[in-house]
């Protein structure tokens, strides 16, 4: 069938609708495919997230919610504008807006329009080296048609624009006393503004592409993405209580002619109730938009008069040569490795990288603090714990954008690392060190200001500061190690370069460290820091196994239980228990039952979470409670032996008159009454054996012999217990590990633990 229609150029309507369909398809792919993960034939589904339908559902649930909440914010903005611009006492909930308020609302629309425009331009298209117009122009569509179709398409497929403008128009319509018609009015009123946004966006990206080189474009893109966030914060601030003064001041000084701009006409057209006047306003709005569009397309045609690609882009590059030649010979003060120098050169030149890793975290954390209602922004200057948490949080966030991304920043050039006679681990270590130092910058500045502003700088200030500052290099290593698992350096789509599960894991681990900063007990602080360091080492070891498979993920062995899992579980257990205790006990006295419940809830949460993650990742070597060879008797005998040692140790302390002081120092362990029994005989063996024997000893056992693994896991087990019981608990840990080695299931070590606890508690109660 060769229809005659196929010989001519594709008409406007058809090309527009095709373009729109293509764009929508791409958007849906972008959101949905993120969780689907491409499958190679025969792949045994070891990609973290096998295809999910739920993300589509989430997409359709989240959108209306977001529209609604944006609507609520703009509605608040209108109220705030009314409060600021109308004379006090004037009751406005009539129909007509005062001219001052109309100007104010037009200003609000303008800021929202600007924010959405900047977000769209900053969303990445500029940073890409390929340009779709280069491809579209090869299709049989007339250039004019193509330009119009493009503007129309971009006015419809513009999520951030729709997000910003439709709810705002809805709020205006609502305050103009419309009810059921609000959605229709909102969409119709937003469209002319969206058309203008699309026009300006097209003019900007076409113009820039023809004038600038790829590297400049990427840098400009970085600047725009920063601007877009600032504008967005400013737009949102109008709707917030107590944060809106700055923007309301500007709104009050806006000139009258704003009433005649498309924004002003939109507000007036929605607000006007007389049919004739409204029609006049709508028509003048449409005329204005049409004229602007026509002028815009003329300008576009002028821009494209020499074709859609700027020629000689490479020749232009040559002019930009700097004094680079001398750089290599310049002696440096610091002893930096080649990797450090390359990373710093990239940071200097690639604004995008700089903005992503160092500027955006500051903006986002700062924006949250300034606009949020938590009061952190004011209390951080008086409370050193809050200051240290903010400082650490900021550094941890920048690490997630930098150290976590080390492999992704290598990207497709990763092959180069494989050609060097150095292990990739060394390169990554270099990078972890660099980022561990670079990200100290903001915290140091914060602490310097804090020390200056604080009423008094005492021990708590220094302790909090030290904990936060020491945590940052540790977390730099954790971030790089997790980044090895969490990145897809060869992925083309930027949103698929990172596996979200690992980002969440990193973020949650960082949040756990906040506990070390705020806990009032120095011992817990120390234990937590040691745990974090061990975790960094363990994760690093796990990552090392993975490094050979970076460019060949399909060949990598399936995940196995590792020491790092155990350490994560210990930290999680700590924090979950502490949080549960706070919730249960509140301000009351700690009772035995409360302690038991807090412990059990913390343990159960940890256990359930670990099992869930293992099941999802199809991890091998997850410890079993019951095995073929349960060795129950051996467990009881070993527990009795360890218990005997424990009792003997207590007698020793008693003989040296040390027991009283030791018991005094750790009151919580003896004041539980009868609740001690279920805690010591059931809950503690159940959860602690899973973590310390199952995960930590089991994980260590993969790389070490029986004895080193048993001793190391027992040492870790001992330091999380009260100081006076470290020695017997260490022996208990060794016994339980040896029994686990024989039985290969957790029942026997659990019996060791329970028997030991039973004997020691019995001795405490009846013999002493």
């Amino acid at each position: 069938m060769n229809a005659p229609a196929r010989t001519g150029a594709v008409p406007l309507w058809r090309s527009t609708s095709l373009l729109i369909r293509l764009r929508l398809r791409r958007l849906v792919n972008l959101f949905v495919a993120g969780s689907q993960g491409k499958k190679k034939p025969g792949d045994k589904t070891r990609t973290g997230n096998p295809g999910k339908k739920s993300s589509k559902v989430v997409l359709f649930l989240v959108w209306p919610l977001m529209l609604f909440s944006f609507g609520a914010i703009t509605a608040n903005s209108v109220m705030n504008l009314h409060g600021a611009l109308d004379p006090p006492g004037s009751f406005w909930i009539t129909v007509e807006f005062s001219p001052a308020l109309t100007i104010g609302i037009a200003f609000l629309l303008f800021i929202l329009w600007m924010a959405s425009l900047l977000i769209t331009i900053g969303s990445g298209e500029l940073a890409k080296s390929e340009w779709d117009l280069e491809w579209l122009i090869t299709l049989p569509v007339r250039s004019d048609t193509l330009l119009w179709a493009r503007i129309a398409e971009r006015s419809i497929v513009n999520p951030s624009g729709a997000m910003a403008l439709i709810p705002a128009c809805a709020a205006i319509a609502w305050y103009s006393q419309y009810r059921w018609a609000v959605p229709i009015i909102a969409v119709l009123a937003a469209w002319p503004l969206l058309l203008l946004a699309s026009l300006v966006r097209t003019l900007i990206d076409t113009g820039l592409r023809l004038r600038m080189r790829a590297a400049q474009l990427r840098n400009l893109h970085a600047v725009i993405s920063v601007l877009s966030i600032v504008t967005m914060y400013l737009a949102i601030s109008i709707g917030l209580k107590g944060k809106s003064d700055f923007m309301l001041g500007i709104a009050a000084s806006m000139p009258d002619w704003l009433l005649y701009t498309p924004m002003g006409l939109t507000v007036r057209a929605i607000n006007e109730r007389s049919f004739v006047d409204a029609t006049v306003l709508v028509l003048s709005l449409l005329a204005e938009v049409a004229v602007l569009l026509w002028l815009g397309v003329m300008a576009l045609r002028y821009q494209l008069r020499n074709g859609v690609v700027a020629g000689g882009a490479r020749d232009a590059e040559r002019k930009a040569v700097s004094n680079a030649e001398t750089e290599a010979d310049r002696p440096s003060l610091l002893k930096l490795s080649a990797v450090h120098r390359r990373e710093l050169a990239l940071l200097r030149r690639d604004r995008n990288f700089l903005v992503q890793s160092l500027v955006l975290p500051l903006l986002i954390v700062g924006g949250q603090l300034l606009l949020g209602t938590s009061g952190v922004a004011s209390s951080m200057w008086t409370n050193p714990n809050v200051l240290a948490s903010v400082a650490f949080g900021l550094a941890a966030y920048s690490l997630s954008m930098s150290a976590f991304q080390t492999l992704n920043s290598e990207g497709h050039a990763l092959w180069l690392l494989y050609t060097f006679p150095r292990s990739i681990e060394e390169v990554l270590k270099d990078k972890a060190k660099l980022w561990g130092v670079l990200t100290l910058f903001y915290p140091l500045v914060l602490f310097a200001i804090g020390a200056f502003v604080a009423p008094s700088v005492g021990w708590t200030f220094f302790a909090a500061m030290l904990t936060a500052l020491l945590g940052i290099p540790i977390y730099a290593f954790i971030a790089v190690a997790l980044g090895v698992f969490g990145s897809n350096p060869l992925e083309q789509q930027p949103n698929q370069k990172v596996k979200p599960a690992y980002v969440y894991l990193y973020m949650s681990l960082s949040a756990l460290y906040i506990y070390a900063i705020v806990t009032p007990q120095p011992v817990q602080r120390l234990i937590f820091m040691v745990l974090s360091m061990l975790l960094a080492a363990a994760l690093w070891q796990k990552a090392r196994d993975q490094l050979g498979y970076l460019l060949d993920p399909d060949a990598s062995p399936p995940p196995r239980v590792s020491t790092s899992d155990g350490l994560i579980a210990v930290m999680l257990f700590f924090v979950a228990q502490a949080v549960a205790a706070v919730v249960i006990i509140g301000r009351g006295r700690a009772t035995g039952a409360a302690v038991l419940f807090a412990f059990s809830i913390g343990g159960a949460i940890t256990y359930a979470l670990m099992r869930y993650v293992y099941a999802k990742a199809k991890t091998e070597g997850v410890p079993r409670i019951l095995g073929d060879n349960s060795q129950a008797l051996l467990g009881i005998v070993a527990g009795a032996l360890a218990g005997a040692v424990g009792v003997f140790y207590m007698y020793g302390l008693e003989a040296l008159d040390l027991l009283e002081t030791a018991m005094e120092a750790s009151k919580s362990y003896v004041s539980l009454g009868l609740w001690t029994l279920p805690l010591a005989l059931i809950a503690a063996p159940l959860f602690e054996e899973f973590i310390f024997r199952g995960l930590i000893f089991g994980g260590l056992r993969r790389s070490f012999g029986v004895w080193p693994a048993a001793l190391a896991s027992a040492a870790l087990f001992a330091i999380v217990h009260p100081p006076f019981s470290i020695i017997p608990v260490f022996i208990l840990g060794v016994c339980a590990a040896l029994v686990y080695e024989r039985s290969r299931s957790l029942l026997a070590p659990m019996l060791v633990h329970a028997t030991y606890n039973g004997i020691v508690i019995g001795a405490q109660t009846f013999l002493l």
């Binding site: 190679k40 034939p41 025969g42 792949d43 045994k44 080296s129 080189r213 790829a214 590297a215 990427r218 882009a313 490479r314 590059e317 040559r318 040569v321 700097s322 680079a324 030649e325 290599a328 010979d329 080649a338 990797v339 390359r342 050169a345 990239l346 030149r349 690639d350 290598e410 990207g411 497709h412 050039a413 092959w415 180069l416 494989y418 050609t419 060097f420 006679p421 150095r422 292990s423 050979g548 498979y549 460019l551 060949d552 399909d554 060949a555 990598s556």
Partner: protein, 249 residues
């Protein structure tokens, strides 16, 4: 010396490289010939430790290419099929980085980089960002990266694919020079004319299996005629040809 011992690679059910055994002696220029998708790049990536063998192993100078990668790389230079470089880095900087990663000092690396760039006629573009290079320049830069530490073994994936005749000739001359100085070269190509000019021995891989190896004369003898390598190639990669009598160097 390069040695494959039953080297194989599968992707799920698909076998990209069937167990492959081969030995390449020092000083040989070995051409790895085969049609598109025959498994050439997969094999080379296994030699570089980029892909992990599903079975068997590849050895260079007696060291395993996967488990002892870093040691192997000290003596190996590699040019990928399509070299991709870091954004925002100039050709000179990339070369210097590579040299430093191979253990040279900063000054020495800078000097060496300058020498290589001059040798490869890249002086004009040293201060451009490498991502903006044309394909030919990228390949030349890649070859400079591969040669900067004066390796004993060169592994080249399609070294002149996509180059204009002049650039292709230059690269071939460089390779002949390298071979004359005693380097072992392993290169994949589907450009037979190039193999005929440069290689001392060739292997033909087809659907992941080595169908023949030998000097050009030996291969001609196998198909019983005094024809061009192209005919030999076409005959040996015909559908349905079984690799009987393969790998008899």
């Amino acid at each position: 010396m390069i040695e494959f011992q039953q080297l194989s690679r599968t992707y799920g059910d698909f076998t990209a490289v069937h167990p492959l055994s081969l030995e390449i002696r020092n000083g040989e220029v070995f051409g790895f010939l085969g049609p598109n998708g025959a498994g050439k790049t997969t094999t080379i990536r296994m030699m570089m430790g980029i892909l992990v063998p599903s079975g068997g192993r590849a050895l260079i100078n007696g060291l395993d290419c996967h488990s002892e990668r870093a040691l192997v790389q000290r003596h190996v230079g590699y040019l990928p099929d399509n070299p991709i470089y870091y954004d925002f880095l100039r050709g000179r900087e990339i070369l210097q980085f590579v040299a430093e990663m191979h253990g040279m000092g900063r000054r020495e690396a800078a000097g060496q980089a300058r020498r290589m760039l001059a040798e490869f006629g890249l002086e004009e573009v040293v201060d451009e960002f490498a991502v903006n290079y044309s394909m030919g320049m990228k390949k030349k830069l890649g070859l400079a990266c591969a040669l900067i530490h004066d390796p004993q073994v060169l592994i080249l994936d399609e070294p002149i694919n996509g180059l204009d005749p002049r650039a292709a000739r230059e690269v071939q001359d460089r390779l002949r020079q390298a071979a004359a100085s005693g380097k072992t070269i392993f290169m994949s190509t589907h450009l037979l004319d190039m193999a005929e000019k440069v290689c001392t021995r060739v292997g033909i891989i087809h659907r992941g299996e080595l169908t023949a190896t030998g000097t050009l004369d030996e291969l001609r003898a196998r198909v019983n005629s005094n024809v061009s390598l192209e005919d030999v190639f076409l005959r040996l990669t015909e559908e349905g040809v079984t690799p009987e009598g393969a790998s008899t160097p």
